[in-house]
Assembly symmetry: C2
Homo-oligomer: 250 residues x 2
C-alpha cells in the first residue's frame, strides 16, 4: 500500500522507514485508540527508524527540536546538567514511550536523551504530528493525554524528591519499574536494571552509596533479592507498605 517503504540500498541502514500499523507496540504508543484506517494514514507520516547504541545520545540539550521519538526497543534516560557538572536524571524511558516533548516549547531540546542499551526509535517530525492531529481527532486527544500524563508523572517525582525519605523513594522507584515492565508483558518481579546505582541515585536525589546500602537493607529485610543489576522483588506488599506508611498518630 505504501510505496514509501521502498528503501534505496545506499541509505544508511540505521535510518529506515517504519509503519505504526504493523508495530506490536501500538497499544502502548502514540497510535493508541486509532482505527485501522486512521493508523494507515498515520503511516504516511514520515516516520524514520533510527538506531541509537548504548551510551549514545538521541539528542542533546540545546540542539534544535524537530521531531518526537517513540521508543521501539531499548531503554533511555533523560537528564539535565548544571553548570558545575551536577546531573539530575529526569526520567527513564522504555519501549512505547515518547521522547522529546521537552523540545516543543522553545523549539530546542532542554535535556539530554541517552540510550542505556542499544535501542531503536521512530522519529516523528513534529510538524507532521501537528498536521495529522488537526485531522484525526483521536490522535489529537491521545497526544494531549500523553503530554498531560508526563506532567502528572513529573509531579509524582516532585512529591518523591520533596517529601519522601530515601527508603520510600527507592520503593516507589522499584514499584514503578515493576508496573511498567508488567504493562510490557515482562515479569513484575524479576528484571534487570539498565541503569547504574549512580543514575538511580541521581533520579531519586540520593548518592549512589545510599542507593547501594538501601538495596542491601531491602535484601536483608527479605523484600528483594539483589545481584548487581538483577532484581527480584520478593515482597511487593512490603514495598508498598514502605511507600505508604500509615500515619503514626491519629
Amino acid at each position: 500500500m505504501s510505496s514509501a517503504r521502498t528503501v534505496r540500498s545506499e541509505i544508511n541502514l540505521s535510518v529506515i522507514k517504519t509503519a505504526c500499523s504493523n508495530c506490536n507496540l501500538n497499544e502502548l504508543c502514540l497510535p493508541l485508540g486509532l482505527s485501522e484506517e486512521e493508523m494507515t494514514r498515520l503511516d504516511e507520516m514520515v516516520t524514520l527508524r533510527r538506531k541509537v547504541r548504548r551510551g549514545e545520545h538521541l539528542y542533546h540539550a540545546g540542539q534544535e527540536f524537530h521531531a518526537i521519538y517513540a521508543i521501539r526497543t531499548g531503554f533511555f534516560k533523560t537528564d539535565v546538567l548544571m553548570g558545575d557538572g551536577r546531573e539530575q536524571v529526569t526520567g527513564f524511558q522504555m519501549a512505547g514511550e515518547l521522547l522529546g516533548l521537552d523540545g516543543i516549547g522553545t523549539e530546542t531540546h532542554s535535556c539530554n536523551a541517552i540510550a542505556l542499551e542499544d535501542s531503536e526509535v521512530c522519529a516523528i517530525p513534529f510538524s507532521n504530528l501537528e498536521e495529522f492531529s488537526r485531522e484525526i481527532v483521536t490522535l489529537q486527544q491521545h497526544f494531549h493525554k500523553v503530554m498531560s500524563r508526563e506532567i502528572v508523572r513529573d509531579h509524582g517525582v516532585m512529591l518523591l524528591l520533596g517529601t519522601m525519605r530515601a527508603e520510600e523513594r527507592l520503593a516507589a522507584f522499584l514499584l514503578n519499574l515493576s508496573q511498567r515492565f508488567t504493562a510490557r508483558g515482562y515479569s513484575p518481579a524479576d528484571f534487570y536494571l539498565r541503569m547504574t546505582r549512580e543514575e538511580i541515585g541521581s533520579y531519586l536525589g540520593l548518592k549512589l552509596e545510599t542507593v547501594s546500602r538501601l538495596f542491601s537493607r531491602f535484601q536483608e529485610e527479605g523484600l528483594l533479592s539483589v545481584q548487581q543489576k538483577h532484581i527480584r522483588i520478593l515482597d511487593i506488599a512490603g514495598l508498598k507498605k514502605l511507600m505508604n506508611p500509615t500515619r503514626p498518630e491519629a
Copy 2:
C-alpha cells in the same frame, strides 16, 4: 460584535462571560500570537469567568476534569497530598498562566489548585479548546508549547529538589519569582510573597524553619531585605552567584 457578552442579571455574578480580545493579559496567556480575527473567534469559545476567594479550591484532586483555567488576576498554588498528610506544592501560578493541564490525561484532576489571594480565572472547556485548536493552527501550536514548557519547568524543579542545596533552592525560587513579576510589569526587586514559609518550604523540599533561617541569613549577607512577606532583592547578582557556584576545582 459578540452578543454572547450580554449577561442576564439573574446569573451568579461570579460567573460572567469574558473575552480574550479585550483582556490585557493576552500577550502572556493562551491567545498569544493569534491575529485579531482569530482572537475574536477564540472569544466564541465558551469562556466563563469565575471568582475564587483566598483559601478556596479552584479544583480538587480526584474531581472530574472538563476545563482549563487561565488566571486573570490573583495567585494560586497547586499541590499533591500523600496518604499520611504530607504535602508537596508542585507550583505557584500567577496572572496569565494556565491551571488544570494535569487533568487532561486521566480526565480527572490529579492535584489541588488553591487560591492564595482573591482571584479570578477564565474557564475554557477543554473540548472547545481541542476543537478550536484543530481549526486555528496558531492556537494549536501555542497550546502545545505551553504544555511542553510546563514539562520543562517541572524538570527544573526536579533539578532543584534533586541536586541543589537549601540556599541554592531559595535563591532559584526568588529569582524565578522576580523574573515572572517583571514579565507582568511589576518590580523585579520589590514584592510581596503570597505564600507562607511552610508553602515555600513544601515547594522547595525544605522545612519552614529552614526557609526562615535562610531568609534571615540572606538578609544578614545583604542579599535581601525581608520583612515578613515583603521582600526586596538588594543584590540580584549575588543571588545568581549562589545558584551557580563556579565549580571548586578544575
